[in-house]
């Protein structure tokens, strides 16, 4: 259920990541053999340098394979290659014969990999300039009949009651509506959307109209849950985070885990439909907000209570 973007681990990134891992392990485990391969086995300091380079390779590998920001890590490899080539040039200088031949071969191999790294880094910086298309999905079961749940959603003016970041939704007639969301620093973001599908008791689908800050589309499906368990609500959404400064603001608006926010919204929707209200506690006076759970108030009344 993780939010996916177009920065998925591609073949080249994975290849470079695994190369780093393999090379790093070999350099750490068998520095003397690597020294012989590179023609520097006559140097007392070579095993030490090779071990250090091996450690660095493992950091590259972790960054490329394990991090969400593997595109940025592609650049760190280019810097690493430059360093390696400089070291090898220094080694070539003082050697001749078979050792010089082996050092030349090692230099050629590193130069080849460096070319790949430069390509990967350039490609990464190009991708970063594009918008980020994201999709998410979430679902909840609400102990109410589909007709009731559908009717509640279909009246878009109900949505701010449980969607935490929405300030208001106005219907404009002709399947169009205007949505206003709260943005950081007391600002708001407004966009218009149109209903693109509406099957009573089954489905509502929308898409934003041109000009929206965050182009988005999605659908909410209402499925009767088996055995009288109520209604399953399935939300699927696609949205594009614009590049640059605006994108950063929007990313903050949606939080780091937009999917978690939609799940929170669905939980609140369930609370409103099943119990009539959003459930609050002393530690969570605003109700569910998963990303705030680690910073919530102690479980004791706020100062609003009248003294008894």
């Amino acid at each position: 259920m993780a939010a996916s973007d177009n920065g998925r681990l591609d073949g080249l990134t994975r290849f470079l990541g695994w190369s780093s891992l393999g090379l790093g392990v070999a350099q750490l485990a068998a520095p003397h053999r690597v020294a012989r391969l590179a023609g520097v086995d006559d140097s007392a300091t070579a095993p030490l340098v090779i071990r250090a380079v091996g450690g660095r390779e493992l950091i590259h590998a972790a960054g490329l394979l394990g991090s969400d920001r593997h595109r940025a890590w592609a650049k760190t490899r280019v810097a690493g290659d430059a360093l390696d080539l400089a070291v090898l040039a220094y080694a070539l200088n003082g050697r001749d014969g078979d050792r010089r031949r082996r050092a030349k071969a090692a230099t050629a191999a590193v130069a080849g990999i460096a070319a790949l790294d430069v390509y990967a880094a350039i490609r990464a910086s190009k991708v970063r300039g594009d918008t980020k298309r994201q999709s998410l999905h979430a679902s909840v079961t609400i102990n109410r009949p589909p007709a009731e749940v559908y009717a509640f959603w279909r009246d878009f003016t109900n949505l701010p009651a449980f969607m935490a970041h929405l300030e208001s939704v106005e219907t404009l007639g002709g399947f169009r509506s205007r949505w206003t969301a709260k943005a950081p620093a007391g600002r708001t973001v407004t966009w218009e959307a149109e209903l693109v599908d509406d099957s009573p008791n089954r489905l509502v689908a929308w898409r934003s109209l041109p000009g929206a800050t965050v182009p988005n589309s999605g659908r909410v499906r209402f499925v009767e849950a088996p055995g009288g368990r109520g209604t399953e609500v399935h939300v699927e959404m696609e949205y594009e985070i614009p590049a640059g400064k605006l994108g950063a603001v929007v990313a903050r608006l949606f939080g780091e885990e937009p999917e978690q926010q939609v799940r929170d919204d669905l939980r609140r929707c369930k609370q409103v439909l099943e119990t009539g209200d959003v459930v609050v506690s002393d530690g969570t006076p605003d109700g569910i907000k998963a990303r705030r759970t680690l910073a919530q108030r102690p479980a004791r009344p706020e100062t609003v209570g009248s003294a008894r």
Binding site: R229, R263, R267, T275, G276, R297, A299, S306, R308
Partner: protein, 389 residues
């Protein structure tokens, strides 16, 4: 108002805090007349359950007088005397409809956090960490009770606070522990942990038709109270439990075993105690599950192990081979208190169970920090403390 607050591991103090207010139309405010310290509060006190905040008000066993009701609470009025179940339940979700009140799907605002740790979330609980909602607890002068139209039971006769207070948690928890054993005529039930929940499990198992009930503990004063409810008793520091239970049951083992101990168990075998203590201290496991392991190994083939002792996370060396190969059923859960309130009130009224036998200490709320200390350290033969504000 004054309230007992968690200020850090093994640190609680009575603080002056704001009075609670109605936050939702289905809330009531209850002025507490009696409250108790639960064995499970000690897990919070000792820091073995996560998601506590400095300043959290503790306490989930409390009763009192309604002093304010929200506009949608029509079953209660100001002046009513009520006992309040420890789980908070909405009464409307699928779980509540199936009477699984401690699994209410709506009452825990921190459900997402609980989901990450446990897969799915459970109900909100008064004064029991932010994992169960961050609700202020009942070891206080006043409490806000959410869904007051669902939980509180009105006490309309002259039963004393001490007779009905334990309907909030430990009496129904002991009862559910016995009920999950699905007791048949001739059954022997063994109960690990002769604290108040274990003591009530003993009484409940007899009421549900058990032939023999064996209580296991290491403190004589607790075993003595279990004997008041009819138990045969074993002290695990004196005898080998597996062997003793085999001897008592002609080699079969008990038909059902109840774990009323939970995550801070002790073992008479120093090596096992040291193993689990160390792993728990290093956060390699959250539990010291010795009682549960022993209950599993003791129960007869195809028997039932009923777990009402509280666990928080992950245990080590779980004897799954014994469970699987011997067709053992494990049943468990935080008590669905609401469903037992009325039947157990009847048992109290008829005299079938006298809950006051478990009480050994009565204190003012102001002395609660001392209460936590002596209860945790098993000083002064402390079995159960009732606090009055």
């Amino acid at each position: 108002m004054k309230a007992l607050c968690w200020m850090g591991i093994t640190e609680v103090s009575v603080e002056k805090v704001p009075d609670p207010a109605i936050l939702s139309p289905r809330d009531a405010i209850v002025q507490v007349t009696s409250t108790a310290i639960c064995g499970s509060d000690l897990h919070l006190y000792d820091g073995y359950l996560p998601a506590m905040r400095k300043g959290d008000i503790l306490g989930h066993e409390f009763m009192g007088e309604v002093v304010e009701v929200g506009p949608e609470v029509r079953n209660l009025k100001v002046g009513d005397r009520v006992v309040v179940p420890f789980p908070i339940a909405c009464g409307a979700c699928n779980a509540c409809e199936r009477q699984l009140f401690s699994l209410c799907e709506n009452s825990n605002p921190n459900a997402a956090l609980a989901e990450k740790l446990q897969g799915h979330a459970t109900a909100g609980i008064f004064g029991y960490s932010h994992l169960t909602g961050g609700f202020a607890g009942g070891q206080a002068e006043y409490v806000r009770v959410p869904f007051a139209d669902v939980g509180p039971l009105k006490i309309e006769d002259d039963l004393t606070d001490e007779q009905v207070l334990f309907l909030t948690d430990i009496l129904p928890t002991g009862w559910m522990g016995a009920e999950m054993c699905d007791i048949k005529p001739g059954d022997t039930v063994a109960v690990w942990g002769a604290g108040p929940v274990g003591q009530f499990a003993v009484a409940s198992a007899y009421l549900l038709g058990a032939d023999r009930v064996v209580a296991i503990d290491r403190f004589e004063y607790r075993l003595a109270i279990a004997r008041k409810y009819g138990a045969e008793t074993l002290n695990y520091e004196d005898v080998d439990i597996l062997e003793a239970l085999r001897d008592m049951t002609g080699g079969r083992g008990p038909d059902a075993c109840i774990d009323a101990v939970g995550m801070e168990a002790h073992s008479a075998i120093p090596a096992i105690q040291a193993y689990d203590r160390t792993k728990q201290a290093l956060r390699q496991e959250t539990e010291r599950p010795h009682a549960l392991r022993e209950a599993i190994l003791s129960v007869r083939n195809a028997g039932t192990v009923s777990v009402v002792g509280v666990y928080g996370g992950f245990m080590d060396k779980f004897p799954i081979g014994s469970v699987m190969n011997r067709s053992i059923t494990i049943k468990t859960g935080q008590c669905h208190v609401h469903r037992y309130l009325r039947p157990l009130l009847e048992h109290v009224r008829s005299g079938a169970i006298d809950p006051t036998n478990v009480i050994t200490h009565r204190m003012r709320l102001a002395d609660a920090p001392k209460g936590y200390r002596i209860f945790r350290d098993k000083q002064d033969e402390c079995n159960k403390i009732v606090l009055t504000p």
